[in-house]
Symmetry: C2
């Protein structure tokens, strides 16, 4: 478990970033906004144009993937669910108004789950949030570059997709958080190229602790591929008030 929010906040400060300035102070004064906007579609960008949103259909998506995507888009029309955009750089998810002074997108880094150039080879996924249920579902199609045992996804790639889903769920409910513990039971291997549902929700909160659970199901609901529990800790300086 993380020792303290202060330690965390220090550790998370980019190594090359200058000391906190006026923008950082304004950030500290409105953490809820920062947390709410993080990963949200309201993000505004000062650079020319929006960065590419990877959580949209592309030619590599199977019909099964498209069907599930369309199903959740339909469910989103009344506001019950909401599609979460996804970018290649971590900082693209953070609005300019709450970036630290000197923070800017490092073009030589990439978000781990969006690091392959060609569509369909790696993590193809789109997340949908259900705010009232404190629930995040990812429609996920693992590509051929995520192999572990021949023909199946690597356990580490499944862990990464679970961590990302469950972490995004925690962010929306509790603000900026860090993973403290992630425990996964692997039940049935996931064939490369199949489509699965990663279904996570916040079970309870105790102080700065956020407890979540997650299950990975086949799309027909017949096969439980994995289930997980996780503990996230709200960063002390950025907790929702």
């Amino acid at each position: 478990m993380w020792k303290s929010g202060v330690t965390l906040a220090r550790a998370l400060r980019p190594r090359s970033a200058p000391r906190l300035g006026s923008k950082a102070s304004s950030r500290a004064s409105k953490p809820a906004a920062a947390c709410h906007l993080l990963w949200s579609s309201e993000t505004q960008f000062s650079q020319a144009g929006q960065p590419k949103d990877y959580a949209l259909p592309n030619a590599s998506w199977s019909q099964g993937m498209l069907n599930l995507y369309n199903e959740f888009v339909e469910k989103s029309k009344d506001g019950t669910w909401k599609r979460i955009p996804s970018y290649r750089h971590s900082l693209d998810h953070i609005p300019d108004s709450v970036k630290l002074e000197g923070e800017k997108v490092q073009k030589d880094t990439r978000l781990f789950l969006r690091n392959l150039d060609e569509e369909g080879l790696g993590f193809e996924y789109v997340m949908f949030l259900n705010p009232s249920e404190k629930r995040m579902v990812t429609v996920y199609q693992p590509g051929p570059y995520l192999e572990g045992h021949p023909g199946f996804t690597h356990g580490g790639s499944t862990a990464a997709m679970i961590d990302s889903t469950i972490g995004s769920c925690a962010i929306f409910v509790a603000g900026r958080v860090m993973t403290a513990n992630l425990s996964i039971d692997f039940k049935n291997p996931i064939p490369l190229g199949s489509v699965v549902l990663v279904d996570s929700k916040v079970d309870r909160m105790e102080g700065r602790k956020v407890f979540l659970s997650c299950q990975v199901w086949s799309t027909d609901g017949q096969t439980l591929h994995a289930e997980a529990t996780a503990l996230f800790i709200q960063l002390a300086s950025l907790t929702r008030r």
Copy 2:
């Protein structure tokens, strides 16, 4: 937890592979050899030349990475430790003599941790085995394409590196295995481009259950980045006898 070894063995059969033939029968009769050779440098290949071994120094390795590599190479001279080669395709780790009939490397798939073309962007690592201690250590340099929080490695990539190290350790001690549970405590984030030691060992075995633990340390031994426990299950038809 996996339901049964039989179910597992079926699930792990490549979808396109034919029914088990004579080669499969001979494989079943010598599981220990199969397990021992898996991931080992004694692997023989019928194709022209060896596949490229990625567990060797390249231009992206930092001096710190090279120093640790050289330290373990030195320790390997008396046989206490042994470097484990690493290839791009899962099946390249399995000798021809124990492959299933019809099994051949699928060039359109890649091992998850070796799926990026350019050196230094993703997982740069080399594993060393200490057989008498039932221990596997990975010298690991996470690249800029493994980003989670800006400037730091994604928790999912750390989980993947732990799963791979601890799984390889289990394979050498217990034969072909599958992950049943992986539980990780994240202690301190890992800066992109740093070098860490992933240190795993088999704690005990109970029947087909293999219990392991793992710690991720900074190279100066001052910072514990993560620690984990794992349960692996030996595949019933391939357990070491």
